[in-house]
């Protein structure tokens, strides 16, 4: 009789704990989801970087998959964005150092005219390829919100790091070091 009672008590505890646990987990997950809803990071560190194909100012297509085996420093920018303009010369200098070590810089302009991008490139004497995302489809695929945003892609094609905001030359150097092939 007592044993039966204990068993019943135990079952009750398990049942109640299970129900409460499931409900609390559901609430926790919902709150977590709503808290991160503003910056829906469809992309996360460790994800495979979505492939894309964009044309540069000379009309040459650049596919992300073309750079497999190299580290790709993918920088999203616009001429109106001041921090973007500030970090560009530093990126160019570090690209000079790391391009022979298998690091590729790709600057993705957000839907501006060829003229604006070309004059910007000429003004700063940039040597890395600049592609223009005319329909914002790559920006949408990568879920880029603030500019500048830099996506660091390792030689395996996986996202190593996502940087939003301006980077110092030290940062840039460190990031290139991170994605440099062995």
């Amino acid at each position: 009789m007592n044993e039966k009672k204990n068993k019943k008590k135990q079952n009750r505890l398990i049942m109640r704990s299970a129900i409460l646990l499931v409900l609390i987990a559901a609430i926790g997950y919902t709150i977590y989801n709503s808290a991160t809803a503003d910056d829906v990071t469809v992309l996360e560190v460790g994800d495979k970087a979505p492939d894309f194909a964009l044309a540069d100012l000379e009309g040459n297509d650049h596919k992300l998959s073309d750079y497999k085996g190299q580290g790709v420093f993918l920088n999203f920018w616009g001429t109106w964005c001041k921090p973007c303009a500030k970090e560009m010369p530093a990126m160019d200098r570090q690209f000079d150092v790391y391009k022979d070590q298998g690091v590729q810089v790709l600057a993705v302009n957000i839907a501006q005219s060829d003229f604006e991008v070309q004059s910007f490139s000429d003004q700063y004497g940039l040597s890395f390829p600049i592609v223009i995302d005319k329909t914002k489809s790559v920006m949408t695929a990568y879920n880029i919100r603030p500019l500048p945003t830099t996506v660091l892609i390792n030689p395996e094609g996986e996202i190593e790091r996502i940087v939003t905001g301006e980077m110092t030359e030290e940062d840039i150097k460190g990031f290139m070091e991170e994605i440099k092939p062995e």
Binding site: I27, F52, A53, A55, K82, T135, K136, S137, V138, A141
Partner: protein, 549 residues
């Protein structure tokens, strides 16, 4: 708490008010009252039964109706506060600072406090969601705690109840009966669609028991509804995005991977007031103009399956128009016409003229979306674009700046060459003025005209949770109907050895209907006349108070 042994010998779980078997009152309070408390059939709500581990305590907390009602009140108050000022999603500001400034500027100190307390984003704040979640737990726990014992008790109810249970029912009768009374009562009750069970000298007639499950069905509906709302926050279930699309632009549709939309043209029509539209004249006179149509002509593109984002090989899916209330629908998405802005600058026409003689050397049109490098005017005259600043915002270190990529306030740095000035003259032109940085020029670019384009404000929606929300709502309504429009009616009748009839009746609502049924049975089976004991009590109380005053 200990188990309670009833006089009939049955061992009841702790917290029981009326004996599960015979219906005798088990508590002192209950024994003293004139009528029994029939809520939950006098069973022990489970929360009152055990209170030992922490889990039990948490469980009991949520099982309390007081807690549930408090949660509902809190939610109501919070939801009401959220409607005092517009939520952040509906104000024309995007960044955190802009939003903060907007509330302060538009609503003053009230707005500042409102924003400070986080009420500007009420419905997605973590504590609001937490409150809804707690309410969901309360609904589930409280329902389980009440439904399970009630179900058991109704399933196992006995036909023969103790006299003390019967005479404390609201409807009670006691008096002599004939030999065939029981049999006739059973006949009539069956005719009235009651389910009759008999045991020895008694019978139990029951109808509409399922009405007792109404509240619990209702709660299940609510839980499903809340589950659907929760799903909205999961990626892929719910999309509510906006897209400003300028005429001539093609843009990837946010949250709709692979799809792009081109704006072929926006139009806004108003009623002319002529012919068929004469009925609108009064309104037109009063307000100036009456909108007839807002429309965006669009082309929907999809990226071929083996193609990559960014590639130019988009495939046309369809060409159509989006009007207010006539969205473009595809693949579970709907795109609505929501907003518009008229007349954004698109192109500007200039004339190259000699300042002194006002002689023109020709015209050029600069496309503000896609400017060219040089504009050859022929006869040795040309204008070369050195710099273009679509939204000129001033100089920084002598360098012209642009605030946004939109041509709101275009600025051009140009070099003009003419046969007269073969070395070229440099000029910086904005809408308001012209700067000649290297001294007085002989030539100028005189502004002639501007071309504009409209911007269409579109909303992209997808809602996969609608069927779940619909199901939840339907079940909710079924529960309401079940509990409201059906009654659980019961009669207990016993005939003692000396022929005396004892009758008791109970219903969860609609006592009038119960009495109407009983009147028919009483007449047919010659039952003793019944009393409504509650009415008797009320009458007595009324009399008493009248005597006192």
């Amino acid at each position: 708490m200990e188990k309670k042994q009833c006089q009939c010998g049955h061992l009841n779980p702790p917290g029981t008010v009326l004996c599960e078997v015979c219906g005798r009152s088990l508590t002192e309070k209950e024994q003293k009252s004139k009528l029994v408390d029939m809520r939950y059939e006098g069973t022990a709500r489970r929360s009152q039964t055990y209170n030992k581990s922490i889990i039990d305590k948490v469980w009991n907390f949520f099982s309390s109706v007081k807690v549930g009602v408090s949660l509902i009140v809190l939610l109501l108050v919070a939801a009401a506060i959220g409607t005092i000022l517009p939520q952040k999603a509906y104000i024309p500001a995007t960044t955190a600072e802009e939003i903060k400034a907007y509330y302060a500027d538009v609503y003053g100190s009230v707005g500042r406090v409102y924003h400070f307390l986080g009420f500007h984003d009420m419905y997605s704040s973590f504590w609001f969601i937490l409150l809804v979640g707690l309410l969901a737990i309360s609904l589930i726990v409280a329902s389980l705690d009440r439904f399970v014992p009630l179900y058991r008790s109704l399933k196992n109810q006995r036909v023969l109840r103790h006299i003390s249970f019967m005479n404390k029912q609201r409807i009670f009768a006691d008096g002599p009966g004939a030999e065939d009374t029981m049999q006739k009562a059973e006949e009539k009750l069956k005719e009235l669609k009651y389910k009759v069970t008999t045991d020895k000298n008694g019978l139990l007639a029951e109808k509409g028991r399922f009405s007792r499950w109404g509240p619990y069905v209702n709660h299940i509906g609510l839980i499903i509804f809340l589950f659907g709302v929760m799903l909205r926050m999961m990626p892929g279930f719910y999309v509510d995005e906006s897209l400003w699309l300028r005429e001539g632009e093609t843009r990837a549709i946010p949250e709709a991977p692979g799809y792009s939309l081109e704006n072929k043209g926006f139009q806004m029509e108003t009623y002319t007031g002529e012919d068929d539209e004469a009925v609108f004249n009064e309104a037109i006179d009063r307000v100036g103009s009456v909108a007839k149509n807002y429309q965006t002509d669009i082309v929907l593109y999809q990226k071929p399956e083996d193609s990559l984002p960014g590639a130019a090989d988009l495939e046309k899916v369809k060409e159509s128009s989006i009007r207010v209330n006539e969205p473009l629908k595809f693949d579970g998405y709907a795109i609505y016409q929501m907003d518009f802005r008229l007349d954004e600058l698109k192109a500007m026409r200039f004339e190259l003229t000699n300042k002194e003689s006002e002689e023109s050397l020709g015209e050029l049109t600069i496309d503000l979306i896609n400017p060219e490098k040089t504009y050859d005017l022929g006869n040795g005259a040309a204008v070369k674009l050195l710099g273009y600043y679509p939204d000129f915002s001033g100089f920084e270190n002598g360098e012209p700046q642009t605030a946004t990529p939109l041509p709101n306030n275009p600025g051009f740095l140009v070099e003009m060459t003419t046969p007269e000035t073969p070395d070229g003259e440099t000029s910086f032109i904005t809408i308001k003025n012209t700067v000649e940085p290297f001294g007085e020029n002989q030539y100028k670019l005189a502004f002639q005209a501007a071309e504009t384009r409209d911007v269409s404000g579109l909303t992209i929606r997808k809602d996969r949770t609608l069927p779940i929300l619909g199901l939840g709502g339907l079940i909710f309504m079924i529960g309401v109907a079940q509990g409201m429009y059906f009654n659980h009616r019961r009669f207990w009748i016993q005939q003692k050895a000396d022929g005396e009839i004892i009758l008791a009746g109970h219903t969860n609502k609609n006592w009038f209907g119960l009495k109407k049924d009983l009147d028919q049975v009483t007449e047919y089976a010659s039952l003793p006349a019944y009393v409504d004991q509650q009415e008797e009590i009320e009458k007595a109380e009324k009399l008493e108070s009248e005597e006192q005053s």
